[in-house]
């Protein structure tokens, strides 16, 4: 039966391709109609293929952006590798009862998706199995890898506020492409920013290490550190109270920060695209407290203090450029 199914699909594909190749000639079309009438399965197979073709052809007028989008969807995707056998054993346990351990599924989830992620307008707070709490701001993603030896979080994108529950037997480690941060019990924020990881300590201390393991630095409460693949450096001090408040109120607190970085941050918290020339805006600096739940307002606030032109094509596309002194 399955074999027959396969043959029908193959024939349908052959027909559809031939029709296209031979310019949809009338005779061939009639023959195809006859073929389709052989059974509902024949017609359905043809319909499924035609459906996908129609979806693509509907985008023909904008083939360039559509193709760019599809390329982006598949760019850098490795072939998905196999996961743990343990998982399969769990599956086989299947119908007996879905065990509560499924809820602790985190360690099994692999590359399909991040274990926990947020969209542009999301904030998500979650209590973990060890009673630690994490909060993700917009467009952020992380994987959880908890086992008997350690509690590990891989921050894939965006920013996370972590409140580590004390557990002297299992260290808590946050991992990014640039390095790792190891803590026993503490509260801190980790953010991915381009090819740097920014660590902001709110309480106690952690040991931050570069990915090449050449540099390790203890970072104490009230300090900020930048972690690169080959180095860790301190980058000034912060007010823990104001950062706590900012997370509570979904605000972005920036002090004398380059505008492109601030725009990146805002972009993470909205759907659509903020278009700007990074180099042209690099000299402008921002100090402000900006509402991340209302990014239109945030942009307005920035424009009130800086000479910027904000052009809104649609809510999906906003272009920001430097306003040049009036030339008349």
């Amino acid at each position: 039966m399955a074999e027959q199914h396969e043959t029908i699909d193959e024939q349908a594909a052959e027909w559809i391709l031939r029709l296209h190749e031979e310019g949809f000639s009338e005779g061939l079309r009639l023959d195809f109609e006859c073929w389709k009438r052989q059974s509902p399965q024949h017609a359905a197979a043809a319909l499924r293929m035609q459906d996908v073709i129609n979806r693509l052809q509907a985008l023909r007028e904008q083939s360039v952006p559509a193709k760019a989008a599809l390329n982006a969807a598949f760019a850098g995707r490795k072939a998905v590798t196999r996961r743990k056998q343990a998982l399969r054993a769990l599956l086989i346990a299947g119908c007996l009862a879905l065990p509560a351990t499924l809820l602790l599924k985190s360690q099994y989830l692999g590359q399909w998706m991040a274990d926990i992620s947020t969209g542009p307008n999301d904030w998500k707070t979650q209590r973990l199995a060890d009673n630690s709490t994490i909060t993700l701001s917009g467009t952020s993603a992380l994987n959880l890898r908890f086992d008997a030896q350690e509690r590990r979080i891989e921050l894939l994108q965006g920013e996370v506020l972590i409140e580590v529950a004390h557990d002297s037997t299992r260290p808590f480690v946050v991992q990014t492409a640039q390095g790792s941060m190891r803590a026993l019990g503490t509260r801190f924020v980790v953010k991915r920013q381009g090819d740097t990881t920014v660590l902001t300590m709110l309480q106690s201390r952690v040991a931050a290490q570069s990915a090449n393991e050449q540099q390790t630095l203890e970072v104490a409460a009230g300090s900020r550190a930048l972690i690169h693949r080959d180095a860790v450096e301190l980058a000034g001090s912060v007010s823990a109270a104001s950062i706590n408040q900012a997370w509570e109120r979904h605000q972005l607190v920036v002090e004398n920060q380059p505008l492109p970085e601030v725009l990146d941050e805002i972009s993470r918290h909205r759907r659509g695209l903020l278009q700007f020339d990074r180099a042209a805006l690099a000299n402008l600096r921002v100090s402000a407290v900006l509402p991340l739940d209302d990014t239109d307002r945030a942009l307005q606030l920035i424009a009130e203090t800086l000479p910027l032109q904000i052009k809104t094509w649609t809510p999906w596309l906003i272009m920001i450029s430097q306003l040049h002194p009036a030339k008349k």
């Binding site: 699909d9 693509l56 760019a68 996961r83 509560a100 809820l103 278009q275 999906w316 272009m319």
Partner: protein
Amino acid sequence: MSSGEPSYQAAITELYCAHHGWLFGWLRRKLGCAHNAADLAHDTFARILNARESVATLREPRAFLSTTARRLIIDQVRRKQIENAYLQELALTAEALEGFQSPEQILSTLEALEQIAFILEGMQEKARQAFVLYYLDGLTQSDIARQLGLSDRTVRKYLIQALLHCSHSLDT
């Protein structure tokens, strides 16, 4: 933990027993790999459990499961990538935007792209490229052969393969 409450557990178990086999079978055909299909089917149920989504009164349980699986494959991060790439290109032809592309149109195009990406997921890379060049760009098979550095015959073989994949992908 409240998820241990008997009625919810029973509803999930019922959903699992009734449809896990189907979900696995569909994903296996779609992804062409039993291991990945098993993982993804598992993750789909794990996500439903995690989100404590109400499953007792589902009218279309299979549509619900396949949508959940789709959100796992085209996750938030990937959606944002699709969105940014599309809008970036659109911005280059900004004048064409004026009074032409409404926010609703953009939104519906993005949704269409997301669905296409999901359908194409699991397709071999060259087959996917050939398929998109043929039906989206409207190139001829020999143009595609030249562009991808393949023989005409291989391009045709890939197109057939792509159409088969589409059929499997939509065959729920």
